[in-house]
């Protein structure tokens, strides 16, 4: 079997893990359907990684906002995330974010955006059954929110 590039389309958004999350507060932004934000599934068991990127606007960093960053393909097991971010909290270092894979909060307390740094997070290994969105959620708002780019790189292998 050849490696499978995943090109998300609007029609695929009803697949498992892509349904909008039901949050009591905050805003869920629409996913980026650009293929550049979708990882590849490798035909064998090789560990692979794919850098997803997003440029945050100020409204997307409000408390409890959930911002889709990109997709992990179906039938893979995600084991870790690397996050590299611009400084999204120009007035301090209060900003904290969580990483969601579909509806599962796999990483909490991400502080890469609080100081413009890079962090690496080992997560509970999680298998996908279909193309699944990766979100960043603001769990502690920034002291002074600033726009900027964030890269999230899931590490995964074929299940």
């Amino acid at each position: 079997m050849a490696d499978v590039p995943f090109s998300p389309s609007v029609g695929s958004l009803t697949a498992a893990g892509l349904a909008p999350l039901n949050l009591a507060t905050g805003i869920t932004f629409n996913p980026d359907t650009s293929a550049i934000n979708a990882g590849f599934k490798i035909a064998n068991k090789s560990l692979t990684a794919y850098q997803l990127s997003h440029t945050f606007t100020i409204p997307e960093l409000q408390l409890n906002c959930l911002t889709p960053i990109g997709y992990v393909p179906g039938n893979v097991t995600v084991v870790a995330f690397a996050v590299r971010s611009a400084d999204l909290d120009s007035g301090g270092s209060a900003l904290r974010q969580s990483i969601y894979l579909g509806a599962s909060e796999l990483v909490t307390g991400v502080l890469a955006g609080a100081g413009g740094t890079a962090t690496f997070h080992v997560c509970t290994p999680t298998a996908t059954t279909g193309p699944t969105l990766v979100y960043l959620k603001t769990t502690t708002a920034a002291t002074t929110t600033a726009a900027g780019a964030t890269n999230v790189t899931p590490y995964y292998y074929s299940s």
Partner: protein, 137 residues
């Protein structure tokens, strides 16, 4: 009391795959701890096997909080065959994750992976742990 040793599952799902090429691969082994597997020094759990003819370069370790004491003491080591590839791990104290870059170890036969408490939990709690080995052929 005597330290316990929990044998590796014999189900083949706990054996990692060896790739035909040199690509880095990973395999996740998991175990649900009981309190009896954490409350004594030298309590050991065999997680599974890494295949023969591979070189292991890293370990991802993710654990629930399995030492709920206010001042937790649980310390664990990860052993591949006879080599302690990770020592002093405290991930189980708070339910976090850790990425350990290890001195590369090349296997010549299917090799057992074992996690041992080098300091027992102050208050052991049941919970899950996941061990992902990163290796290449």
């Amino acid at each position: 009391m005597t330290a316990s040793t929990t044998a590796a599952p014999t189900n083949s799902i706990f054996y990692g795959a060896k790739l035909s090429n040199k690509a880095l691969t990973a395999f996740t082994m998991s175990h649900t701890y009981t309190t009896a597997e954490l409350n004594e020094i030298n309590d050991a759990v065999e997680f599974g096997y890494v295949p023969a003819g591979v070189t292991v370069v890293g370990v991802l370790w993710k654990s629930d909080d399995v030492d709920t004491h206010g001042t937790p003491t649980l310390t664990q080591k990860i052993t591949l065959g006879s080599s302690d590839v990770v020592t002093g791990d405290t991930t189980g104290r708070a339910g976090t994750g850790a990425f350990h870059i290890i001195t590369p170890v090349t296997t010549t036969a299917p090799t057992l992976v074992k996690v041992t408490a080098t300091a027992a939990a102050a208050t052991a709690a049941a919970g899950s742990a996941y061990l992902t080995f990163l290796y290449h052929s």
